[in-house]
Amino acid sequence: MMNLLRLLGGRTASAPVARERLQILLAHERGLRGQSDLLGLLRAEILAVVSRHVVLDPEKVIVRMDRGKNVSTLEVDIEVPNGFERSIVAAAT
């Protein structure tokens, strides 16, 4: 059909493609908009809670959101100083 149009009109209408690409892209980007704030908030609160018990480097708290088709994951990566690990082991024994 596209080929037929190209033969008849000399050119294919590209506007419908532009429209469709934009609709898909913007639906995705609008979904992400509020989220950067959510991640910042989560990061700040997680940092505050963990800091009550352990001395943390705020730079070493990483909160990441991964959006999958069916499942999304929230990844929290906190690097704790070595001395802390030993104190947990000591408390457990």
Partner: protein, 271 residues
């Protein structure tokens, strides 16, 4: 009551400065007292498009920092008594603008003018966020092209969240102004149609400015297109848009070049 209107887009080169000058002049021609402010600190151009580049002494930054009084920085247009320009600084960078400073300048201008048009820089950084910060209304300048529409969508999101009005739970009244529109190409399906753009952005239309030589001609001589050649197709489109800003109901159409006689009606619902 004074209205603060930001002319913004996200993307550069779509016609913000041209539109600010043209709408500002059109409103002034209708008897409104208008000031146009250039927020593009470091890359000012509104002075050039308005033909006032050789008359700039003080600028917005000087006023924000208290170096100059507002009355010293305002430049009165030579053609229209009730049109004024507040230029941006060419030598400073955008960090010289502060929220408090802009707030006080705008509050002062509100007591002196009917319309305060803020010409936003491109991008989404300090200059752009401060240009929209105190706006009551916004004109989002959009080209019928994917990257421009995407950036407009982003800017609409910011108008709904980062402005003082949004933070108070009020709305900034938003309008889309489509510029560089070529109805022949849109009809052939080579360019996003008005209907496509409005559907995607879900924002009402203020006007359709046709692609035209007259826009370049006007900026070459330093005159807003509505003053330089009021009968030209883009000037008529800007004048219609200005009338809509004043609350008039004006039939939406795309003025065409041909001797200014044949106006092709373009209905929003029609493809």
């Amino acid at each position: 009551m004074a209205k603060v209107l930001v002319v913004t887009s996200g993307k550069g080169g779509v016609g913000k400065t041209t539109s600010t000058a043209a709408l500002g002049a059109a409103l002034a021609q209708m008897g409104e007292k208008v000031v146009v402010i250039d927020f593009d600190v470091g890359l000012r151009n509104l002075d050039l498009v308005m033909g006032a580049e050789r008359r700039v002494v003080f600028d917005l930054i000087n006023v924000v920092q208290g170096v100059a009084k507002l009355s010293q920085a305002l430049i009165r247009d030579k053609r229209l008594d009730n049109l004024w320009l507040l230029p941006a600084s060419q030598t400073r960078d955008k960090d010289a603008l502060t929220d408090e400073g802009v707030n006080s300048v705008i509050a002062d201008l509100r007591t002196k003018f009917d319309w305060i048009l803020c010409d936003s820089p491109a991008g989404i950084e300090r200059g752009a966020t401060l240009a929209m910060r105190y706006a009551d209304e916004a004109v989002i300048v959009t080209n019928p092209e994917v990257s421009s529409v995407r950036d407009s969508d982003r800017i609409i999101g910011m108008l709904d969240s980062k402005t003082v009005r949004a933070e108070r739970g009020e709305r900034v009244e938003k309008h889309v102004l489509i510029t560089r529109y070529d109805s022949a190409r849109a009809t052939r399906g080579e360019m996003l149609s008005i209907e496509d753009i409005l559907e995607i952005l879900a924002t009402p239309l203020l006007g359709i400015i046709p692609e035209s030589q007259d826009v370049l001609r006007a900026s070459n001589v330093g005159s807003p297109v509505t003053l330089n050649n009021a009968d030209s197709a883009p000037a008529r489109a800007y004048i219609d848009a200005a009338r809509r800003l004043l609350g008039e109901t004006v039939t939406m159409m795309v003025p065409v070049e041909r001797k200014g006689l044949i106006n092709r009606l373009l209905r929003r619902r029609a493809a």
